[in-house]
């Protein structure tokens, strides 16, 4: 275990050294900066109120879009499993949501709704089909024999959902959530950049590009990666807590 951790740290150090070496070779801080300059830029950003305001605002928008999309996706997936007609009606819409490029959708949403809630809408739209399709697949993967057992022993309602459906649904939701959290941050920040949403991370990225502050651009990118990672861990922990012990791990 300890050896594995040392190995991971050494690999990380190796790549940081490669990055720093490449930056020194490039020797142009407008085009490419090394990890030391990024760390310095981050140290300058961290104590400022504007940094935390941007992080908070983007987290709120992207988080609410994700949670909205997640819950609606689960509910719609459950209903589509129960009522086949709903699945048939939803199919073209879900295909459309899956295939429309994020950039096209962002621009369309910007035209129709402005930039204030752009990130929320975009993330919501990106998350719904992912969660919906996985919820549907999870329900379909439920053990038929256990369903018959539940029928014979009159296990109904909430108990049936918790003890029969949930163990089947859980791995699908975990896998979908992992992808959805990453996609949310990517699409959400892209929407903020295109819409230049005031005081958001996307706006800061945009300004870094305009003023050629490459170190800031890298620092904000690092912040997005860390936020995405933390959101994924927190959400999976929440799912595991809600899943309780009915799910085999």
């Amino acid at each position: 275990m300890r050896n594995k951790q040392i190995k991971k740290i050494l690999i990380l150090v190796f790549w940081l050294l490669v990055w720093e070496g490449a930056a020194r070779l490039a020797d142009n801080s407008i085009v490419f900066v090394g990890p030391l300059q990024v760390a310095l830029a981050l140290c300058k950003l961290l104590p400022t109120a504007a940094f935390w305001q941007s992080v908070g605002l983007s987290l709120l928008k992207i988080g609410s879009g994700f949670l909205g999309g997640f819950f609606l996706g689960v509910i719609l997936g459950g209903l589509a499993y129960r009522y086949g007609l709903l699945e048939d009606f939803a199919a073209p819409l879900i295909s459309l949501m899956k295939s429309v490029p994020v950039a096209s959708f962002v621009i369309l949403a910007l035209i129709f709704m402005g930039s204030k809630y752009l990130a929320v809408i975009v993330v919501f739209t990106i998350v719904i089909p992912l969660i919906y399709l996985n919820t549907l697949a999870g329900f379909r993967a439920v053990d038929r024999q256990l369903l018959e057992m539940a029928q014979v022993f009159h296990i109904r309602g909430w108990k049936r959902i918790r003890y029969i459906y949930q163990p089947s649904l859980y791995p699908y939701l975990v896998s979908a959530s992992r992808t959805a959290v990453g996609m949310s941050w990517k699409s959400g920040v892209a929407a903020e950049v295109i819409g230049v949403s005031a005081a958001s991370i996307g706006e800061k990225l945009y300004l870094s590009k305009v003023y050629l502050e490459t170190a800031d651009l890298f620092a904000w990118t690092l912040v997005i990666i860390v936020l995405s990672f933390l959101c994924e861990k927190c959400f999976l922990l929440l799912l595991r807590t809600l899943g309780g012990k009915v799910v085999r791990r």
Partner: protein, 185 residues
């Protein structure tokens, strides 16, 4: 008295049950015998309401559910034996299970138990069900002789006058259960 008249069931054009007639007295034990593929499981599934017969009728079988041991254990793998009984509404699951399972495995997820232990949980679950009928499909599969006798004693003690129909391969099981043999050949 509960009766089964002219029961037929076909799978892909092959008759598994063909004009089966039986009469069951309330509170009695019946052991259903017959070679593999002669429809014992199908018959029990029809009695449980899981399968619809192609023809024939059932009279007197309550629609309020049965206590059933399936051919497979069909347990909730992540739950322990006590919880597997609690989800069907059993309140004294621990007391019941202690009679046929070692105390130290009552807290373990059933997915981690041996085949024999899982089978005993499945039997206890059927016994714990609030039902007027018990249906058991090969309830002693995977049990050694000593455990089988213990489980038979457990069933006899907790049957509480309910009608029990058990499918089994061995005439000895029928004798030990104290039941009348019905042949499905």
């Amino acid at each position: 008295m509960r009766t089964v008249k002219g029961l037929c069931k076909n799978y892909d054009g092959r008759a598994v049950l063909d004009e089966v007639d039986f009469a069951f007295k309330d509170g009695q034990v019946y052991c259903l015998m017959g070679a593999s593929g002669h429809g014992k499981t199908t018959f029990l599934q029809i009695l449980s309401g899981l399968l619809q017969p192609d023809a024939g009728e059932l009279q007197g079988f309550p629609s309020s559910g049965v206590g059933m041991v399936f051919q497979e254990d069909r347990l909730c793998e992540a739950l322990n034996p006590v919880e597997n009984l609690q989800i069907i509404g059993c309140r004294n699951s621990e007391v019941l299970l202690r009679e046929i399972l070692p105390a130290d495995c009552l807290g373990q997820p059933v997915g981690e138990l041996s085949g024999g232990m899982r089978r005993r949980v499945a039997v206890a679950r059927a016994i714990a069900a609030e039902s007027e009928t018990l249906l058991m499909d090969e309830p002693f599969t995977g049990l050694d002789e000593e455990t089988k006798l213990r489980v038979i004693r457990f069933i006899r003690e907790h049957r509480q006058g309910r009608l029990l129909i058990a499918a089994t391969h061995q005439a000895e099981d029928a004798e030990l259960l104290g039941g009348e043999i019905l042949r499905l050949d």
